[in-house]
């Protein structure tokens, strides 16, 4: 169901015009240039190894995450008007964003992502089971054998 005031064919009133609170064009330009500078700083980290040596990598990654969060908030609060809109909209958006971070943070943690050393440890198929196979031999049984399973998902 459509609300009358949001109809494309609706017209603006003086009250609506005055009620529009948010940054001016000039303020938007300022925010834009701040975003450009932050992006330039982010991109520059790509060459920090050459300029400042390998050790700069320890600073670069936390800085990149910090700059990403700052840019995220600048766009959400000012360009998307969250700072000036009704609190309910803020709650809806932050709820989605926080749930996403929690769910996928948990998922990555459960997959040992934070301890990642580039090995296949958490995507390896489970080791062969050490139990007698059919026919009485003591050969190890491959997991999923005879059950129609494949290792296409890494055996997880």
């Amino acid at each position: 169901m459509s609300t009358p005031t949001a109809d494309l064919a609706g017209h603006t009133t003086e009250a609506e015009h005055e009620a529009h609170h948010g940054p001016t064009d000039g303020q938007f330009f300022t925010i834009f240039w701040v975003l450009v500078v932050l992006t330039a700083l982010e991109v520059s980290t790509e060459w920090w190894d050459e300029w400042f040596g390998e050790s700069s990598r320890k600073i670069a990654v936390p800085l990149l995450i910090f700059l990403m969060v700052v840019k995220f908030f600048l766009v959400a609060l000012y360009f998307m008007h969250l700072k000036f809109d009704q609190p309910m909209l803020r709650r809806i958006f932050w709820f989605g964003a926080i749930v996403a971070m929690a769910v996928y943070g948990g998922t990555l943690t459960s997959m040992n992502f934070w301890e990642d050393s580039g090995t296949t440890r958490f995507n390896d198929p489970p080791p062969a089971l050490d139990r007698p196979a059919e026919g009485g031999s003591d050969a190890a049984v491959e997991p999923g054998a005879g059950s129609g399973q494949t290792t296409a998902d890494g055996g997880s």
């Binding site: 949001a6 064919a9 603006t12 948010g22 938007f28 992006t39 990149l64 809109d85 989605g96 998902d153």
Partner: protein, 209 residues
């Protein structure tokens, strides 16, 4: 467009410009925000999938493939330029919203078209990047990492394409009927969200080693 508080609604003291809904927010704007919140989960899943697989091309048993890493083919200066283009499109989008609030329809159209062009340029850059990757032997099915990468950035590209269509439709409609400022604002919300997602992808996928 002023919103109305619950107390004002209960007391029946509604400002003239308030939305006649229980929340005081138009259904269109509210549904866009709910959609964007749910889209966070979609992109969160795609980004997580890429993070899990990015260092494991060709190493997972049962998923044979090339061991070529996506990150070996990144062209950071080029991707930085397309990121700048998308950032600039967010600026033109807010200028468009401000223009329609001032009832300056001509300028609103100008900024909407500018935003569409910038979105088109970003998409062109993405197509070029994908073509380069394929030319270097990295396709969608080359390995799990490339599938995750193309899935993530391709999904973002689809969002950008949908946004460009929304911008062009809004511009076209403005020639036939009067456009309500909130209609442009809702399209803008979607566009800025696409920009926000790219802010995350650019850092997490391209810049963090």
């Amino acid at each position: 467009m002023a919103d109305v508080t619950f107390d004002e609604l209960s007391a029946g003291e509604l400002p003239a410009e308030a939305h006649p809904t229980a929340t005081g927010i138009s259904n269109e704007k509210l549904s866009m925000w709910v959609f964007l919140a749910s889209d966070c989960l979609l992109f969160g899943g795609m980004i997580s999938t890429y993070l899990v697989y990015k260092n494991r091309p060709g190493e997972i048993e049962g998923l044979a493939g090339s061991d070529l890493k996506v990150s070996e083919l990144f062209d950071i200066p080029f991707t930085s330029m397309t990121s700048f283009i998308l950032l600039m499109s967010s600026l033109t989008m807010v200028l468009s919203v401000n223009a329609i609030v001032r009832k300056d329809v001509a300028r609103m159209r100008l900024w909407l078209v500018a935003t569409s062009i910038l979105g088109g340029l970003f998409l062109g850059g993405q197509v070029y990047e994908f073509t380069e990757f394929v030319n270097h032997g990295l396709g969608f099915t080359t390995n799990v990492a490339s599938s995750a990468f193309f899935g993530l950035t391709g999904l973002h590209g689809v969002h950008v394409a949908a946004g460009v269509i929304m911008l062009l439709v809004t511009t076209g409609l403005s020639f036939r009927r009067r456009i309500h400022p909130e209609a442009v604002e809702v399209v803008g919300l979607y566009w800025h969200f696409v920009d926000i997602v790219w802010v995350l992808i650019f850092t997490v996928v391209y810049l963090i080693p």
